[in-house]
């Protein structure tokens, strides 16, 4: 899973502190080097990585510290707090409310997995007994409506879309209106892939949000993304109110560190991860338990007092 591998490397690096007889600047530098390498290999944004290294250096002042154990704990705690910052934006995700319409809009780069994940999420809520549906507001990508239609038909999810209407804003508005009238609780809007360099696409996204007033906007990221993620995520957040992140394609080899910069840039938590092409390949992601699991991997549990 995401970061699990990364977590393992980092915990083992942290544990190696316990074997060092003296804790000095050199030991700290070696440790940081190991951690920085692991983070960069996992595609974590280089600016965030450098920041982490600086923050640790700032906090750990060897001249002011006394006592070996203390130093060890200080270093471990500081590194861990910095790592937690990467995954935990400190904000709570939107929680849908039963008995009223919850409009959830998907946005993201081309091919990141929006359409697939829309169906997965609809299926997830449907199985939990919510009245769920999907609106296909992608009129650009060839075969987009067929993709939604086939996915939804197979899973028996009600859907709305059009082969003839070319304006995604109109479709989104009509679809959401209709489903609201019919008393649907989870209304998911799929949109076209877009990127910050093409302003008309961002403008279109804004217009859709203006007419549909989504309760939550989910930014979908591919786990294999590298250093370009941060500026894209930031641009999405600047234009619309992204509230959650979903990282897809974590069934592969990718560690998902690049997608993490979406958490920092949008100040939004990861709520689900995609782990395959099938409709049930969606796992809930909860930041806090994830972190404690990461902590649990070493014997440094309890390092972070809450």
């Amino acid at each position: 899973m995401v970061l699990a591998d990364l977590g393992r490397k980092i915990t083992s690096a942290l544990k190696s502190l316990n074997n060092a007889t003296i804790i000095n600047e050199e030991v700290l530098n070696d440790l940081l080097k190991e951690i920085v390498t692991a983070l960069l290999e996992s595609d974590v944004n280089i600016r965030l990585v450098k920041q982490l290294r600086e923050n640790v250096h700032k906090t750990i002042d060897f001249d002011e510290m006394a006592g070996g154990l203390n130093k060890r704990r200080m270093i471990q705690t500081t590194v861990f707090k910095e790592l937690v910052k990467l995954v935990d934006p400190g904000t709570k995700p939107y929680v849908p409310v039963k008995g009223r319409p919850n409009v959830i809009m998907f946005v993201g780069l081309q091919g990141s997995g929006k359409t697939t994940t829309c169906t997965k999420l609809a299926y997830y809520y449907m199985r939990k007994g919510w009245k769920t549906c999907l609106v296909c507001a992608d009129t650009f990508r060839a075969g987009a409506f067929d993709q939604v239609k086939q996915n939804c038909t197979k899973a028996r999810i009600p859907f709305y879309g059009s082969y003839t209407e070319v304006d995604p804003v109109v479709i989104a508005m009509d679809g959401v209106d209709q489903f609201k009238k019919e008393g649907f609780e989870i209304i998911i809007i799929d949109t076209s892939g877009r990127h910050k360099q093409e302003d008309s696409l961002f403008e279109e996204m804004l217009q859709i949000t203006n007419v549909c007033k989504p309760d939550n906007i989910i930014f979908v990221m591919d786990a294999s993304i590298g250093q370009a993620c941060e500026s894209q995520a930031k641009a999405f957040k600047e234009r619309v109110d992204v509230g959650s992140v979903i990282v897809t394609k974590l069934d592969g080899h990718a560690k998902g560190g690049g997608a993490l910069s979406a958490v920092a840039a949008t100040r939004s938590p990861i709520i689900f991860i995609g782990t395959g092409e099938h409709i049930d390949n969606l796992e809930e992601f909860k930041t806090k338990p994830f972190i404690s699991k990461l902590l649990g991997m070493g014997d440094i549990e309890g390092l972070i007092e809450r």
């Binding site: 390498t37 960069l40 290999e41 996992s42 595609d43 280089i46 600016r47 450098k50 780069l109 081309q110 091919g111 990141s112 997995g113 650009f140 990508r141 060839a142 075969g143 987009a144 409506f145 067929d146 993709q147 939604v148 239609k149 086939q150 996915n151 197979k154 990127h195 910050k196 360099q197 093409e198 591919d222 294999s224 993304i225 590298g226 250093q227 370009a228 993620c229 500026s231 894209q232 394609k249 069934d251 592969g252 080899h253 990718a254 560190g257 690049g258 092409e277």
Partner: protein, 318 residues
């Protein structure tokens, strides 16, 4: 007279401690530009090896010498030894009475089908007839996606303008069928109906997914495409390395042929989404030694370019 000055302006021998700090900075710089970290390390190290013990003029700074050396190696890396001339190869195949075949493979969502459509457009603009083989029989809407492109492309080049011949034909057998078999039928059909090129679309797959990689290897082995293109997106980070290594390995390992086909070239998509973070181009060529045949620069049919090595290296070093 001049010898008096030699000591002053004469050379300085570069040592490891001169170049290492510069290289460390450059390595981070490359990583920031989205070169896979492992490859950024190898590239800077080889620059270090080239420079150690070299004498430079006093007025030549260490930093600029290192940068120049790295720039040169990057340009060299991106400049293919042999230039692939697809149009010529198509004509050659045509002369022997068979269609030229090209397969598109890669992980999910990178742009295989869209860029296949762009290449179709380029080919029909060159007056070649194209058969598209719909061998993604898995992903919902995959066949309809290609059908939509086929309609659009035929509308751009209507049969009336081409002696009544449809320039693009979609060969499909729906979903759930064996991809290798569909490709084979498509090629047969193309040969019988005088198509010049067959473009084989395949389903996206993760490089670790063994059954799917095996199926791809079979498709390639059975159909022996003239060109197997790996489609990768410029957005990808460190995974670029693992993807290419494993796609290549799968084609070799799962083939029963004595001389298995590997990836012949790379199509790098979504180049318009990365600003100056062009490092994936470096990672991918470094790993395969294969040329980047095309880059995708947008979502319309004309958004297909050749890679400009100098421009990419400028973006990298800026």
């Amino acid at each position: 007279m001049f010898s008096m000055f030699r000591g002053l302006v004469g050379g300085k021998t570069l040592t490891e401690s001169d170049v290492t700090p510069v290289l460390d900075k450059l390595k981070d710089h490359l990583i920031g530009k989205n070169v896979a970290s492992d490859i950024a390390g190898k590239l800077t190290q080889s620059v270090g090896d080239q420079l150690k013990g070299k004498v430079i003029g006093t007025f030549e700074g260490v930093t600029s010498t290192v940068r120049k050396t790295l720039t040169n190696s990057l340009v060299k890396l991106l400049t293919p030894g042999r230039r692939l001339d697809i149009l010529r190869d198509v004509m050659e195949a045509k002369n022997t009475g068979r269609p030229y075949t090209m397969a598109f493979c890669g992980v999910n969502g990178v742009g295989k089908s869209t860029n296949l459509a762009k290449i179709t457009f380029w080919l029909i603009e060159n007056n070649l007839r194209v058969m598209i083989a719909a061998c993604d029989t898995f992903r919902a809407g995959a066949v309809e996606q290609l059908r939509t492109h086929t309609h659009h492309l035929n509308a751009l080049h209507p049969p009336e303008k081409h002696h009544g011949n449809a320039m693009v034909h979609l060969f499909e057998q729906g979903y759930g069928k064996d991809a290798a078999g569909i490709a084979r039928h498509a090629i047969d059909f193309a040969r019988k109906n005088n198509f010049d090129v067959v473009l084989i679309d395949t389903a996206g797959r993760m490089q670790d997914n063994e059954p799917l990689m095996r199926a791809l290897a079979k498709l390639i082995m059975v159909n022996e495409p003239d060109l197997t293109l790996f489609v990768g997106e410029a957005l990808v980070g460190n995974e670029a390395v693992d993807q290419l290594v494993k796609f290549n390995r799968a084609l070799a390992d799962h083939s029963t042929s004595a001389k298995p086909q590997k990836i012949d070239g790379i199509l790098l998509t979504k180049f318009d989404t990365i600003d100056d973070k062009v490092g994936a181009a470096i990672s991918m060529t470094y790993i395969t030694g294969q040329p980047i045949v095309f880059i995708g620069t947008g979502q319309t049919y004309t958004d297909l370019r050749r890679l400009d090595a100098e421009a990419v290296v400028n973006a990298l070093m800026s």
